[in-house]
């Protein structure tokens, strides 16, 4: 199968959905001739024109509100928020309007929209451009939250998100954009709410999201040499959550480590740990471990930044601790 960049998989998904459905259009900062600050809309302006690939002023509250307004009229807008950190500016629209309008209107509102954004550290962008804030959105009933870890998943999940009738927060990772992976040329979708076992194993389940999936797979390779067999499960969508796949895996391995880049406290991993503690209690042979970002804003200097963000070695150390019962 051909291999393409994660960011090109995003472009392809947008392109195919815009071609398929006239009601799909894009709006966001610098997404037109500039092609997006992470180059995830390159070529679309030339193809679909300024009506459907629309530059917006720097007005995140306005962008999200306008996205919702167009959705209420029956369109399927896809907005780009350049950094997940900037959702802070738009939080009222996201939390109080986008997530709740359908419910408050007794189900009589259309809110088919996608808010694409990207998060994560790794480029020395410092505290206001490197956060992992996905848990904020998982916490709000009415929103769906997607976090693809590969080019293949990015394309299939984005196409599903565009076709979905609910508002979807689609959270990409700035370091994954330049990662290549196999992506089929034909039309395909990946349903929201279906996890994938990225690697099978016997001794421990690693539940990983976004950038931590690749790091966990690398850790699993190294641990294999030590005779530790890791199963790596990527939920792909944080809500709706495929509890089934995660539970089945943990019931099989009897151990679980959860890893994400976001800070540990009240992170998405806490929800998984709580779910396992209740649903898989009798199957657990060891306490559940979490390997997450340290509880600090993201510092600027590259060494400090990588210190507070979990890496492959942190996952390895975490797995060893669980296995050895330390």
């Amino acid at each position: 199968m051909r291999e393409i960049l994660y960011r090109d998989a995003i472009i392809e998904a947008l392109d195919e959905e815009m071609r398929r459905d006239e009601s799909v259009f894009l709006l966001g900062e610098d997404i037109a001739e500039f092609g997006g600050s992470y180059k995830t809309t390159v070529g679309l302006f030339e193809k679909y024109g300024k009506e459907r690939v629309r530059n917006t002023p720097i007005s995140e509250q306005g962008i999200v509100g306008a996205t919702l307004g167009a959705a209420l009229m029956g369109m399927r807008p896809v907005a780009e928020l350049m950094y997940i950190d900037f959702t802070g500016v738009a939080m009222d629209q996201i939390v109080n309007q986008v997530a709740k309008v359908r419910y408050m209107f007794g189900g009589k509102a259309k809110t088919a929209l996608v808010l694409r954004t990207q998060g994560g550290a790794g480029r020395s962008s410092a505290a206001q451009h490197a956060q992992s804030l996905e848990a904020w959105f998982v916490h709000v009933p009415g929103l769906k939250v997607v976090m693809p870890s590969t080019a293949h998943d990015a394309k299939g999940l984005l196409k599903s998100a565009v076709r979905d009738d609910d508002p979807v927060m689609f959270i990409e990772h700035k370091l994954l954009y330049l990662e290549k992976g196999p992506v089929p040329e034909e039309d395909y979708t990946i349903p929201l709410g279906v996890a994938e076992v990225k690697r099978e194993g016997r001794d421990i389940t690693i539940v990983a999201t976004s950038s931590m999936v690749g790091k966990s797979l690398a850790a699993a390779d190294e641990l294999e040499a030590e005779g530790i067999s890791c199963e790596v499960v990527d939920p792909r969508t944080l809500f709706p959550l495929d509890r089934e796949t995660i539970l089945n895996s943990v019931k099989k391995t009897g151990r679980c480590l959860i890893t994400h880049e976001a800070v540990q406290r009240c992170g998405w991993g806490a929800e998984i740990a709580a779910t396992l503690a209740r649903e898989a209690f009798d199957y657990l042979d060891a306490p559940i471990e979490r390997v997450c970002g340290m509880e600090t804003p993201v510092p600027f200097a590259p060494k400090l930044e990588s210190h507070v963000i979990p890496d492959k070695d942190d996952v390895i150390a975490g797995v060893r601790a669980v296995i050895s019962g330390l």
Binding site: E33, P57, E60, L304, V308
Partner: protein, 322 residues
């Protein structure tokens, strides 16, 4: 414009020129170090906009406040931030102004009245209102100046802050550097009005547009707004028409899909350094003297930064709480 610069002595103008040149050389050094991979992260240089930084800050006292943006090196230098500690910050050293936690987009030097670069576009304006409110409540004569771009003027925070400052008559100066672009989005397409300064009318505050390439024009307009603020007459909006000669960020190309080389060249003819040199009828010897002094200062700053230890890993976890 230049004609209005009565209040500026020749000596003062030379000092202002020197500061603009210091900013230019610091930014050039920063860009070089970024390209060489020594400075990491997002770096937005202010080359072309020096007259704004210097024209504004020359009207302020040390205990007046500024707040700046992602493109804040020039404002920092003009407000008196020391170059060694600033360079150390960019290079991730323990001696950096922000202990290597802030980097280029978050330079702050409270001792010089510099309340930080804020990289969420528009976030600094409500803070300026609060600082003005504190000055007013504590009956101080200080003022706060908030720098922001044409792009930032489309954030709700600009409008909310202008209105609050106006109804409470707070000593705040909104200084908009209209450098024609927000990343790739031209101001004539992003913004409904031709002159951002007209927006002041909506808040019953004075609004003026000045030539942002002429340091004396910026100085005069700001001095007036500062005097007004100190008297308790409330906020002003100043729009300076200017231009960034470099790309938006991270060594982006100077021109590209959104602007032409010819346009860049046209603006470069009005380089704020050239404008000031002409005004001063600067001799070659005078210019060389400025350059020589700055070169030494730059080299010293660099040496200080390079000889400083890298920030320790543990320091990443400090100062999260008081």
């Amino acid at each position: 414009m230049a004609r209005n610069a009565k209040s500026l002595s020749r000596k003062r103008l030379h000092e202002m020129y020197r500061t603009m040149l210091r900013i230019r050389r610091f930014e050039e050094r920063t860009d070089e170090l970024f390209m060489a991979g020594q400075i990491k992260g997002a770096v937005h240089v202010s080359i072309g906009q020096e007259a704004c930084s210097v024209g504004v800050c020359s009207t302020l006292n040390q205990d007046d406040a500024i707040l700046t943006t992602h493109r804040g090196h020039g404002h920092s230098i003009a407000k008196g931030t020391r170059l060694p500690e600033m360079m150390a910050e960019l290079l991730g050293r323990s001696t950096g102004l922000c202990k290597a936690r802030g980097g280029s987009m978050h330079i702050a030097d409270v001792s010089m009245g510099h309340y930080g670069a804020h990289s969420i576009v528009g976030a600094n304006m409500p803070m300026a209102a609060g600082m003005g409110l504190a000055y007013q409540l504590e009956k101080k004569k200080q003022v706060a100046v908030v720098f922001f771009g044409d792009g930032a003027s489309n954030q709700g925070s600009f409008h909310e802050s202008m209105n609050m400052c106006a109804i409470w008559k707070l000593p705040v100066i909104f200084f908009c550097e209209n450098n024609q672009y927000a990343v790739s989005f031209g101001v004539e397409r992003s913004t409904a009005v031709q002159d951002i300064s007209v927006r002041a009318q909506g808040y019953d505050a004075p609004g003026v547009t000045v030539d942002g390439m002429d340091v004396t024009a910026v100085y005069e307009a700001t001095a007036e707004a500062v005097a007004r603020a100190r008297k308790g007459d409330g906020p002003s909006l100043i729009e300076a028409k200017t231009y960034r000669f470099f790309g938006h960020s991270r060594g982006d190309p100077q021109f590209g899909p959104y602007r032409t080389e010819a346009e860049v060249q046209k603006w470069r003819k009005r380089d704020p350094l050239i404008v000031a040199e002409k005004l001063l009828k600067m001799t070659k010897a005078e210019k060389e003297a400025h350059e020589a002094a700055i070169k030494k200062e730059m080299d010293d700053a660099n040496r200080f930064a390079e000889e400083s230890p890298k920030a320790s890993l543990e320091s990443a976890l400090e100062d999260v709480y008081a």
